[in-house]
């Protein structure tokens, strides 16, 4: 087994999805399903440094031993380029951990709420001028304007 993986799909919980914040490129709530949280651990196979969102491809192994390739959505790469992050910062073969939510079309896609190395270090840390992560972990974060 080249990589360990856990994929956690939730039970169905009916929720009223609240309005996505104005200002983002698109509605996360329309693309991803709040009822399908995932935790992905695996090796990067490809990184697409593209707009409007970068996509990180990760090969994970499920609990029953099956290999799956997931695509994880991230933000615009322009911001990272401006801070000196390059395509060498995240390359195929690196092991990463991602938590997020699966896409509503049930393809192997997810949003990357938190993308780290296996020891928890942020992959894109060390930048300047960034805002807070809008992942609900910081109760003091300001609303998106």
């Amino acid at each position: 087994m080249t990589a360990r993986a856990w994929i956690v799909a939730s039970a169905i919980v009916s929720v009223l999805v609240t309005a996505a914040p104005a200002g983002a490129h698109h509605a996360f709530a329309a693309e991803f399903d709040a009822n399908r949280p995932v935790l992905l651990r695996g090796k990067v196979t490809k990184v697409e440094w593209v707009n409007p969102h970068a996509w990180v491809h990760v090969e994970v192994v499920t609990a029953d031993g099956k290999t799956e390739t997931w695509m994880v959505e991230a933000g615009t790469p322009n911001t990272l380029l401006r801070r000196g992050i390059t395509r060498q910062s995240l390359v195929p073969g690196m092991e990463i951990t991602v938590d997020g939510y699966q896409s509503k079309d049930l393809s192997k896609r997810a949003n990357g709420r938190d993308m780290t190395f296996p020891d928890g270090r942020k992959i894109f840390m060390g930048s300047s001028g960034t805002g807070a992560p809008r992942d609900g972990k910081d109760p003091t974060e300001p609303p998106v304007r």
């Binding site: 856990w6 956690v8 999805v17 309005a19 996505a20 200002g23 983002a24 698109h26 509605a27 996360f28 709530a29 329309a30 693309e31 991803f32 399903d33 709040a34 009822n35 949280p37 935790l39 697409e48 593209v50 707009n51 409007p52 969102h53 996509w55 959505e73 991230a74 933000g75 615009t76 322009n78 911001t79 401006r82 951990t97 938590d99 939510y101 509503k104 079309d105 393809s107 896609r109 949003n111 709420r113 938190d114 993308m115 780290t116 020891d119 270090r121 942020k122 894109f124 840390m125 930048s127 001028g129 805002g131 807070a132 992560p133 809008r134 992942d135 609900g136 972990k137 910081d138 304007r145």
Partner: protein
């Protein structure tokens, strides 16, 4: 008319305190606005608190900037390596599934400061720092557009930003507002034209100097912009909008006046007034500064890899098929 006179008074006083003798100039003696500019600011469009004044004390400004820096620092701290998947049902206001991580976001690191005054809001008129109320017509139009934004049956019903046709959040404008990232702009200037190129979705605004507006029958997504110099300030008037684009609920009757004043080598003062009597109960104005950027503007190439739009449409199809369509997200 009274409002216009008051606005003129505000701008005149702002300009009077500004020495522009040392700014770069083009060969014909006009202020040289060319270069890369960063419009990011921690100052919000509207004042966060009712009754708050126009300016921040130095201590208040420092506190806002320090809080932003601390949030940034918290954002890059390591996560729990043994964390589980996030909770079912979602975690926050971004539709429950989370938004961008902090490292993808760039709102700048300072509040906007004009003539030494740190500002509480971009809006300066009305004096309470808030966008004036909608007219009944404007309110009804906004409601219709919100309903349309929840339509997933037609790709052309999706917002222009989501379709990579234009930047979101009025990043390019007019008027141009700061958004959560990609706030870099490039100005290119000749005696006859000024171009304002916006990084996000490479929106390019072309301003014709001294020309009359196009006939009313010719409408443009970014409007028809004509420019003139008032002293050392570039004044741009934009009309002839379509009903496909809108600024905070505006109609095709929108008229935008922008004023660009290079205060010094590193600072461009950007001021705007919007008028649309079919949308707001009165005209309103804002101002903030753009900072000189040593970093260039990067290619955007948004459409080519816009998997998100495909995912949104496929997600709605899937929910239609399995009868869970009531759970589709609510975009902006």
């Amino acid at each position: 008319m009274l409002v216009a006179a008051l606005l003129l008074g505000v701008w005149t006083s702002a300009g009077a305190q500004t020495s522009t003798s040392s700014i770069p100039r083009t060969p014909d003696g006009k202020p040289d606005l060319q270069g890369f500019w960063d419009a990011a600011t921690l100052t919000p469009l509207e004042r966060p608190r009712q009754g708050q004044g126009k300016t921040l004390t130095p201590a208040e400004a420092t506190a806002i900037e320090r809080a932003a820096a601390e949030r940034r620092d918290r954002g890059v701290r390591p996560s729990d390596p043994n964390r589980k998947a996030p909770p079912a049902g979602g975690v926050d206001s971004a539709g429950g599934v989370g938004g961008y991580n902090g490292f993808w976001v760039d709102r700048g690191s300072s509040v906007t400061s004009i003539n030494g005054e740190a500002r509480t809001s971009i809006v300066v008129d009305p004096p309470d720092g808030h966008v004036p109320p909608f007219t009944p017509e404007g309110r009804a139009r906004a409601r219709t557009r919100r309903e349309l934004a929840n339509t997933f049956d037609d790709v052309e019903a999706r917002p222009l930003g989501e379709r990579c046709l234009m930047s979101f959040g009025s990043s390019a404008g007019p008027p141009a507002l700061p958004v959560m990232y990609n706030n870099i702009k490039q100005i290119v200037q000749t005696p006859d034209h000024v171009m304002i190129l916006n990084e996000m979705v490479h929106d390019a605004r072309i301003v014709r100097m001294h020309g009359p507006h196009l006939p009313g029958s010719i409408r443009k997504w970014l409007g028809d912009s004509i420019g003139r110099w008032e002293g050392d300030t570039l004044v741009v008037e934009t009309t002839n909008f379509t009903n496909k684009t809108f600024f905070r609920g505006s109609s095709e009757n929108l008229k935008v006046i922008e004023r660009f004043t290079r205060l010094d080598a590193k600072t461009l003062l950007y001021q705007f007034t919007v008028e649309d009597s079919t949308t707001w109960t009165r005209p309103w104005s804002g101002e903030y500064v753009w900072a000189w950027s040593e970093q260039p503007l990067y290619e955007y190439a948004c459409h080519e890899a816009n998997y998100s739009l495909e995912g949104i449409l496929k997600g709605a199809r899937r929910q239609d098929a399995d009868g869970s369509a009531g759970n589709v997200g609510r975009p902006r």
